[in-house]
């Protein structure tokens, strides 16, 4: 309340003589700006803040009676607040801020998802060119894509004999299916007109891929990538629980074994926010890249 009150004061000058001296445009500009900020605060920030505060209050009320098996928000803050306040501290090989752990997990996701994106788009582009091939592989892909990420882990561990490549492979194999399937759909949807243009210009396969196919299929490809990055982030946490090492997933498992329930809640917050940021990031890149693709 205080903040908004302060910001609106220039709109209503307290002393009339000052208003006379000031040039009109400057005064108008000044009164406009805080007004916009106020609008944004009211329409964009207020609703989620109000909902979160209400939910935290309900949570606190429900679990503060004593004897509850789960911690209340205040307990989480008291016991694990330092994890929220200091994301980047290092005091030992297994005692470091959650920011570092998230970054370690993100690095694995980056490698696994990056591979899935490159391979997925290339494979999708090839499959999309051939109706026969598409009919052949579609049932296979539709079955494989429903396999849960963790089901791949034993096979992956058996194949790589090491936890790091196994975790990356699980991300790769989880994220690649929506990317392939969407790229294929995008390539099938390239209008015949664009193919005719490419034919008249005698574009080779390479030029066709970069100049026609990728821009034309970009909206499809990026919706595939967006689904893929979400799945990759789901998979990394699960995979790290089993493979160990440094990472946000292993941290949850470690906290469970050490009965640090409140730490797990903080970790969930980190995971959720990171997943949200990843999703928005891919969506943003997609918007930039496929700008102008739609008419």
């Amino acid at each position: 309340m205080n903040v908004t009150a302060l910001k609106t004061t220039p709109a209503q000058p307290a002393e009339p003589p000052v208003a006379k001296v000031l040039p009109l445009p400057a005064a108008a500009l000044r009164s406009q700006w805080p007004g916009k900020v106020k609008d944004v605060l009211l329409t964009m920030v207020l609703p989620p803040v109000a909902v979160i505060v209400t939910l935290l209050a309900l949570w606190q009320l429900a679990l503060s009676g004593g004897g509850a098996s789960l911690p209340s928000p205040l307990e989480i803050w008291q016991q694990s607040g330092d994890l929220i306040l200091n994301p980047f501290y290092v005091t030992g090989s297994q005692d470091m801020g959650l920011g570092w752990r998230v970054l370690t997990s993100l690095e694995r996701v980056g490698v696994g998802f990056g591979l899935a994106a490159v391979v997925g788009v290339l494979v999708g582009a090839v499959i999309g060119q051939s109706v026969w091939l598409m009919r052949g592989v579609d049932p296979l892909f539709q079955v494989l894509r429903t396999v849960p990420p963790l089901a791949w882990l034993p096979i992956s561990l058996a194949a790589f004999m090491d936890s790091r490549p196994s975790a990356i492979f699980v991300i790769f194999i989880t994220a690649i299916w929506p990317i392939i399937i969407n790229t294929t759909a995008g390539v099938r949807a390239i209008p015949q007109d664009y193919r005719n243009v490419a034919a008249v210009l005698r574009l080779n396969q390479f030029e066709f891929f970069f100049k026609i196919m990728v821009p034309s299929a970009a909206p499809y490809i990026f919706s595939g990538l967006r689904i893929g990055v979400g799945l990759a982030w789901l998979a990394i946490v699960a995979a790290e629980m089993l493979t160990g090492g440094v990472g946000i997933g292993f941290f949850i498992w470690d906290s469970w074994n050490s009965s640090l329930l409140t730490d797990i809640f903080v970790a969930l917050l980190y995971i959720g926010i990171t997943g949200f940021v990843l999703d928005r990031l891919v969506a943003f890149i997609g918007r930039v890249v496929s700008r102008g693709t739609m008419t």
Partner: protein, 265 residues
Amino acid sequence: MSYLKIDRVVKSFPLAGGKEALVLNDIRLNIEMGEFVSIIGHSGCGKSTLLNLIGGLTQVTTGVIKLEGREVNAPGPDRAIVFQNHSLLPWLSVYDNVKMGVRKVFGGTKTRAERHDWIMANLDLVKMAHAADKKPGEISGGMKQRVGIARALAMEPKILLLDEPFGALDALTRAHLQEAVMDIHARLKNTMIMITHDVDEAVLLADRIVMMTNGPAATIGEVLSVPLDRPRHRIALASHPEYIRAREAVLRFLYERHRFVEAAE
């Protein structure tokens, strides 16, 4: 030996059940260099198929199409096509749409600066140089079609193929673009083949009008010469006896002898 020779061309498409749909039958047509030919006929008579055959986008079933004595069996920039729905790539600017073809055709023979001048010269020719940096989504339908013409011309084709280029435009815009095409033809003296279903457009623009019979198995019914002097002005021509005679001949062909019969389905 004529410039473009279409000799006994037959085109059929395979149907389900091993049957074949005969679309074009025994097409024979010779076109001279610098000639403007209009192809007119009712919807579904295979006009576009014929143009696609010349463009090389589809292959003849039997017969042969020769350009300067060499067989045409694949698409190429020597036979540039102006498509009915402009077919500009929406993610490229007007300039880049034209540049794509120019780089492909003149990449080895013109320097970067020469290519830039050539692109701008062609945009200037269709009076679109002012919109070089616009995206196709930001310009009107008539403007898009102008850019489509510039893109085709910039490839310096031996033949310019126009597939009902103004069909989707309003009458006034269409008239403007017809003037633009006549102007370009007068300046560059290039060979043009234009598909249309507009009788006035055919008579106004063409040296010869190729009239096609109705499909299936459509063929050339009649070829009419239009011996009108150029430059032609639509208002002056409106009362010109030769223009009226040509117009009447096309109308008679289309609506008396080869009236479009709704398919009995």
